[in-house]
Amino acid sequence: MNTPTNGLASDAAKRPKDRRLVSSYWLITPGALWMLLFLVVPILMMVYVSFWTQTTFSIEPTLTTQSWENFFSSETYVGALWTTLRIWLIVLAATLVVGYPTALFVGLFVKNKTLSTVLLVLCVIPFWTSFLIRVLAWRPMLGKEGAINILLQALHITSTPIEALLFSELSVVIGMTQIYCVFMVGPIAFMLGRIDPNVIEAARDLGASFWRIFRTVILPLSMPGVVVGAIFVSVMVLGEFATAAALSGRKTNLLGNIIVIQVGSLKWAFAAVAGVVLTALMGLVVASLLRIVDLRREL
């Protein structure tokens, strides 16, 4: 506290402010309660259940690490973990490669605000169709007798149909990139749109070439957008199971697919282990992405 002389005065001045702050905590009570009941408790429950004893048809609350040992000693499950990581990285890279130039065009080169909004809305169009229709529509496109193979053969680029296009990891990557690309484009375009055009003009006036300006001004200033986009894409891709199931012909198993299968066969403890691993993985990915840029400072 302060010196005795002004200690009393500052106490008196502080009190009403404190009271207002305390009473404002009521505002977050509904949200906090909701999250506690439906997010924190289920997550803790999941961790708890992952240590229960799993028998063929039932589960008992006797604590054991058996499910965890089984998970990490099984080639299928560890393989699914690696597949998840691989597909996540490939899709992340693909959305960045496809999304960044798009965002650059929409956010920086289109000067008309209305046009750039229209272009962003165009990116959202895939979401106007239902997930099932969207994913199924890929089949006649990528299939053995699909549009792409017919076109390639008609142009005599290939003689036999490329089978790897559908029901493979490639088709999963193609499908996911298409669906999640907009989550990369949006935040990056937003950050690029906030760059003061004078700053770029100033860099040009100081003699920097286009690539220099891109590398030293545009890219660093758009990094918060890249990180936010990457977090969106990562969280969604890591938790994916439907696209993988529909486009890989159940050949590509992600952690999400493992959980679906285990729950389907009432292996709750196993599903819980996979769930904990997946949740931990997401937390790790988001935390490390946030380390790249101090979002509090940038946004």
């Binding site: 003061d196 004078n198 700053v199 003009e201 100033a202 860099a203 040009r204 006036d205 100081l206 003699g207 920097a208 070439s209 220099r212 300006i213 030293t216 001004v217 660093p220 200033l221």
Partner: protein
């Protein structure tokens, strides 16, 4: 602007050497002529202010000189060499943006060093002279100790200095400043005026300072260019601009003249409600206008008899505006036009004026500027 205005662009004390020449520079947007055949010769090693109302084309003129835009016609030369088709960064011209346009992700040092690190023939910074030049510039603008600060962690005045240093480090021969004090608060603006003038003197280059404020233009410029509707109305030293505006538009943009339109004849200048005596001196102009400065008018109760060599009119007192050292009185003449009278309070006590009462406003015949 009126076509009849004959403007002598080299009326006084024009130095022989010039930093930049414009000949017939024209810029159009669609069918709109923004700059109409601007010809201009900027003296070297001087502070030149460019005054114009918004929409006069002053920012476009600056961007043309900088090389951000290309003129539709005309020549721009520097030291005898044409620069219209030279890229902006190779012209040897620096540009200070209105909002400073600092790189928000770089600290003070890296902002100032940007032109040396990333400019053409890059990596000049790694050589000791480059680093020393940045350090010299930081010392020159008085930013020592702030090198590692982010540009959002310094004050507005310091940001202004970073913007200037960032441009100066590339050693331009001419620096263009686009309303450089516009983003600062009034207090700081007054201090930065002096600082900018001093800095320019130490650097020995030409500054072309665009502003919409007549007081700023007059206070800062060794010469003042007045731009109106895409043409140069006057280019002269500040006191000549102030006391002898070349066109009614210049007088209007100075914001210190009462202007009356009417007819100029042998017996004087007649407008709707008055006939002013005129001296022989007249500025040629297609639109006859009579201009008298706010601070050259004196007023007296109506009954007083007029003195020789003075002219004037009758007007009703409306209100006064007190602003410390000066007081402005507003009078209304029969046409509804407001006539402003400015009194400096160090010279006299504020007068007791009665709203609605008629007073006779008078001024010396020779003090008026007559266009006709």
């Amino acid at each position: 602007m009126v076509s009849g205005a004959q403007v002598d662009l080299r009326s006084r004390s024009q130095p022989a050497e010039s930093a930049l020449c414009l000949e017939g520079v024209t810029r159009r947007y669609a069918n709109n002529v923004v700059l109409d055949a601007i010809s201009l010769s900027l003296p070297s090693n001087e502070y030149v202010s460019l005054l114009g109302p918004s929409g006069s084309g002053k920012t476009v003129l600056l961007r043309l000189i900088a090389g951000f835009e290309v003129p539709d016609a005309g020549r721009i030369t520097m030291g005898g060499k044409r620069i219209d088709d030279v890229a902006a960064h190779r012209r040897g011209i620096g540009f200070v943006f209105q909002n400073f346009a600092l790189f928000p992700h770089l600290n003070v040092f890296d902002n100032i060093a940007f032109g040396l690190v990333h400019g053409e023939g890059a990596a000049r910074i790694d050589r000791p002279p480059g680093r020393a030049r940045v350090a010299d510039m930081i010392a020159l603008v008085g930013l020592n100790g702030l090198e590692r600060r982010g540009v959002h962690e310094i004050s507005g005045g310091q940001r202004q200095r970073v913007a200037l240093a960032r441009t100066m480090v590339t050693q331009p021969r001419l620096v263009l400043l686009d309303e450089p004090l516009g983003a600062l608060d009034a207090n700081l603006r007054a201090r930065m005026r002096e600082e900018l003038r001093n800095l320019r003197e130490r650097l020995g280059v030409t500054f072309l300072h665009v502003t919409g404020s007549e007081t700023e233009a007059l206070a800062m410029g060794d010469h003042v260019i007045v731009l109106d509707r895409g043409r140069i109305s006057q280019f002269d030293v500040p006191d000549a601009i102030y006391s002898r505006p070349a066109t009614p538009e210049v007088a209007r943009s100075l914001n210190c003249y009462n202007l009356f339109t009417g007819q100029s004849g042998a017996d004087g200048f007649s407008c709707t409600h008055a006939l002013f005596a005129t001296s022989r001196v007249k500025v040629k102009c297609a639109q006859p206008t009579y201009a008298i400065r706010h601070d050259l008018i004196s007023f007296a109760p109506q009954e007083e008899t007029s003195l020789p060599d003075r002219t004037g009119l009758l007007a009703k007192f409306v209100t006064s505006e007190y602003s410390g050292s000066t007081i402005r009185h507003f009078f209304k003449v029969g046409t509804g036009q407001i006539v402003e009278v400015e009194n400096h309070l160090s010279h006299r006590r504020p007068a007791d004026l009665e709203p609605g009462r008629a007073y006779s406003l008078t001024w010396a015949v020779d003090d008026a500027v007559v266009f006709g």
